[in-house]
Symmetry: C2
Amino acid sequence: MASSKPKHVEKSYLIRELAEEFNVTTRTLRFYEEKGLLKPSRIGATRVYSAADRTRLKLILRGKRLGLSLDESAEIILMYDPVGTNSKQILTLIDAIQDKRLQLEKQKQDLEQTLEDLQRAEQRCVESLKHIH
Amino acid sequence: MASSKPKHVEKSYLIRELAEEFNVTTRTLRFYEEKGLLKPSRIGATRVYSAADRTRLKLILRGKRLGLSLDESAEIILMYDPVGTNSKQILTLIDAIQDKRLQLEKQKQDLEQTLEDLQRAEQRCVESLKHIH
DNA sequence: CCACAAGTTGACGTTAACGTAAACGTAATT
DNA sequence: AATTACGTTTACGTTAACGTCAACTTGTGG
């Protein structure tokens, strides 16, 4: 057995692969990189995205669906990583996390309210259909 | 009793009042009007906003907090009003409402997922604080 | 009457989040 | 060698959602 045994080869992706999987353009991925949201490694000049990059992209896109800006998503992503190691930094981070959670809770209430409104609107439509007969 | 008795005088608002109440600029209110989202009446040249305008503004802003574009909010607002009166229009509207509801349900799931993630992140922070002691 | 506040309509500036195009390198296929 | 299919960087264009003037009119108190 001359070859070494890599226990767990991390999956990596080319820009085109990620782009297609998540239905974004390659331009978008490069743009996210410019903004510091993704840090693919390189083979020569070609970008190679790690599983971590993929996850972060997922988070960015989820953020977008929530109406967050890229900067906001960036903040959240930083919250997931253990960035600071001393107590003060961690306390600051906890604060930031709680802030974001409050904001999202508020958003959730707006969302639920809107859903209720839409349900009532639909109900009224159905009713008015009945009366037209 | 010479004076007539108005049973229910609808409240009306000046641009400044609405702006302050909702913490937007007057420029914003005029902008929404340009886009057809608000239709204040006029006394001379001065805009006078009705209670209905106020409600619509509320909906627009709630939409914004959800990350909706103005156009999307406009759509939703139209859904609340009974715009079309014949069966076909109503059926079309019901479809649109259901579409929007599906979209928002999806968004709600993203939101709940993110909230869970943040909760775990916070938990990890607290843990690492314990270990630092 | 006159200042001053608050209203109005343009018209141009700004930021975010990409799109689009030019001009080029590289690797495999024909 | 030439075409095709990717990749790269650099740079300018675009849309949404306002901000920021400038230049005006209108209403009110001193």
